[in-house]
Chain length 182, copies 2
Amino acid sequence: MLAALLDALAETRYRDLTVEQVAQRAKVAKTTVYRRWGSVEGLILDLMRDQTARRVPTPDTGDLDADLRLLARGILAIYRDPAVNTLISSVVSAAVHHPEARETLSEFFISRITDTAVIAERAVQRGELPADTDTVEVIRMLGAPFYYRMFITGEPVDEALADRAAAAAAAAARAGVLVHGG
Amino acid sequence: MLAALLDALAETRYRDLTVEQVAQRAKVAKTTVYRRWGSVEGLILDLMRDQTARRVPTPDTGDLDADLRLLARGILAIYRDPAVNTLISSVVSAAVHHPEARETLSEFFISRITDTAVIAERAVQRGELPADTDTVEVIRMLGAPFYYRMFITGEPVDEALADRAAAAAAAAARAGVLVHGG
């Protein structure tokens, strides 16, 4: 389905994309797509979730720095896969103009950062971070530099960027800057 | 010219945008646009630069935290202006698929962050930050959370986000995480 969706996206503007087109390319009945995913957005969300869950299991090494570094390296790995990179980039581009794409993207990222915030929650429990740390904000801080480079400045993302993003999020959290209401 | 460009963007896809369309809406001769800006991208770059320079003068209070907070509040002010927000968002969206938009956006942001890095350079000179601080990276770290929320998670940007982005960049820089080769 991912290949079929990407083929369709390569030829059609996001706003004109239909379940029929994707179903035809995947050689499945369109009722199958409707029954399983409901819409193009449902399919995209499912594919993004499937691809990231397979590639980036939430680390749990017992150490905040190591966990954040592994998470950052996982994000890097996702964007090095051309298919997943193209899929997410297309949705980011479409989200500026299309509310459905906006909603799909927000749902995907907010649930991802909420799920992975467990990394910071465990660090709070171990006493590595202040008790009132906004654990979701720690994950946002780690992710932001990737998207800033990819979609805004157009600068490369590499291992050095990933490790630095992880270290910066940890440092800001330890300094007590990423606390609730802060 | 900004209003004319935005009108044209509202009706035409970025890839189909022409100097003729913008000139017609601005009621100027297209040769005037060509002579002054060279292309649609030249015009966009000039407008982005003009709007941000007018709204966000580079602060110089003698204190790193205060300077970064002022810079972050300035970024917030830019995106609260619907016209400038629409312009930059359109270019971000187009940059995913169009090399000319990608180049324009990179040129704008890289020159902005290089110029404002003087804030961190002064802090290094005052001994507020480690001598080997990557001063451009301090500014990237401050900017990233805005774009992450606006274009990725779709979450709001407000004063609390601006102040937190500034404080996190300062904390990471002070911790020595944002150093050259780091």
